[in-house]
């Protein structure tokens, strides 16, 4: 194998996209070629650096909140939901529906993520509503 042939395959090797046969061929070439060895080393180094969590971004909480708010379950109010509806909602969509059920009560509920569901559950439990809804 020449450097020309190895060229693009070096990248496929770095990315684990080669079958065993080609992997062996490219590795054998790289082992005997300082130029390809250097490239392989650098591309692996770059790959490792870019995989670091600090290179990724974390979505802002306000964005998460905006998306959550746009989902139907966050806007459903249970004031209009009857007893059978309540049962279906709890079965069907988990924390979001519990949140929605809780909106019928004048309790202040902070917008959060999973913690919100637990807090709402605790609230409903405190109001002795959980046995009715389960």
């Amino acid at each position: 194998m020449t450097c020309e042939e190895a060229g693009i395959l070096l990248h496929a090797l770095v990315d684990n996209e080669l079958d065993a046969g080609h992997t062996g061929q490219v590795e054998a070439h790289a082992a005997s070629c300082p130029h390809c060895t250097a490239q392989l080393r650098d591309y692996r180094e770059m790959h490792a650096a870019m995989s670091a969590p600090e290179v990724s971004y974390r979505a802002p909480e306000r964005l998460r909140g905006r998306i959550e708010a746009a989902l139907p379950s966050a806007t459903v109010t249970t004031l209009r939901i009857g007893a059978s509806g309540r049962r279906n909602l709890l079965k069907g969509f988990g924390m979001g529906s519990v949140m929605s059920s809780a909106l019928a009560y004048p309790a202040a509920i902070a917008i959060g993520s999973e913690r919100r569901g637990l807090r709402v559950y605790a609230l409903l439990k405190g109001l002795h509503l959980i046995p009715l809804l389960e």
């Binding site: 990248h11 650098d42 770059m46 998460r64």
Partner: protein
């Protein structure tokens, strides 16, 4: 809307939430690199999730993350491409022969193998990736940061796997060159700083 219909909507939203929200950071990361602006990225991600919810029923035995990426890419290309003077993601109009003008191995050989890459800080890495031209940046981000396979990238970008490979190779070669320059600049800056410290110490004597 009837209680039943509301319940179904909410149940669907619940399934969507469980499937799509765990990928929010990844989708936002892609948006940040594609648009290079935090505010635009937030808007694009929100629009992506709204569209994804609308089309959630069309998702069949498909990984959610690449599916969200494809939607996001479309949002960025169509919505935000219009805002920019330079059309973002004009990949379909971009002639592939531009990628093939210079053979990849020759481009890489311009950098001597004695020059080794060294670690640079994550902020600099972000800057180097963000500075890549659109067509190369998106495949680099999808592969290196989002860890997608060639086939997944090809599906998202809408090009053959071979094109993904050539763009990746070219993008990495450009990145490697920029990386070495960034290291060199850092070293110069460190030397300059060291010299200034020495000079100020001399002046103090």
């Amino acid at each position: 809307m009837s209680d039943k219909a509301e319940g179904e909507d909410a149940a669907r939203a619940g399934r969507f939430r469980a499937a799509a929200l765990p990928h929010l950071d990844a989708v936002y990361t892609l948006a940040r690199y594609l648009l290079r602006d935090s505010s635009d990225a937030e808007d694009a991600v929100q629009e992506c999730y709204l569209r994804a919810l609308r089309h959630f029923d069309t998702l069949r035995n498909q990984d959610v993350k690449p599916w969200l990426f494809a939607i996001l890419r479309n949002v960025c290309r169509v919505e935000y491409g219009r805002r920019s003077r330079v059309l973002l993601y004009d990949v379909n109009a971009e002639p592939d022969n531009a990628e093939g003008v210079m053979p990849l191995w020759r481009e890489a050989q311009d950098t001597p193998e004695t020059e080794m890459l060294h670690k640079i800080d994550a902020q600099t890495v972000r800057g180097l990736v963000a500075a890549l031209p659109d067509v190369f940046r998106e495949v680099i981000v999808l592969r290196e940061i989002e860890d997608l396979s060639y086939r997944e990238i090809a599906t998202i970008v809408g090009v053959p796997v071979g094109t993904v490979m050539s763009r990746l190779a070219r993008g990495r070669a450009m990145l490697r060159e920029a990386w070495l320059k960034a290291e060199s600049n850092e070293q110069h800056a460190a030397k300059r700083a060291g010299k200034q410290v020495e000079e100020s110490e001399e002046n103090c004597k």
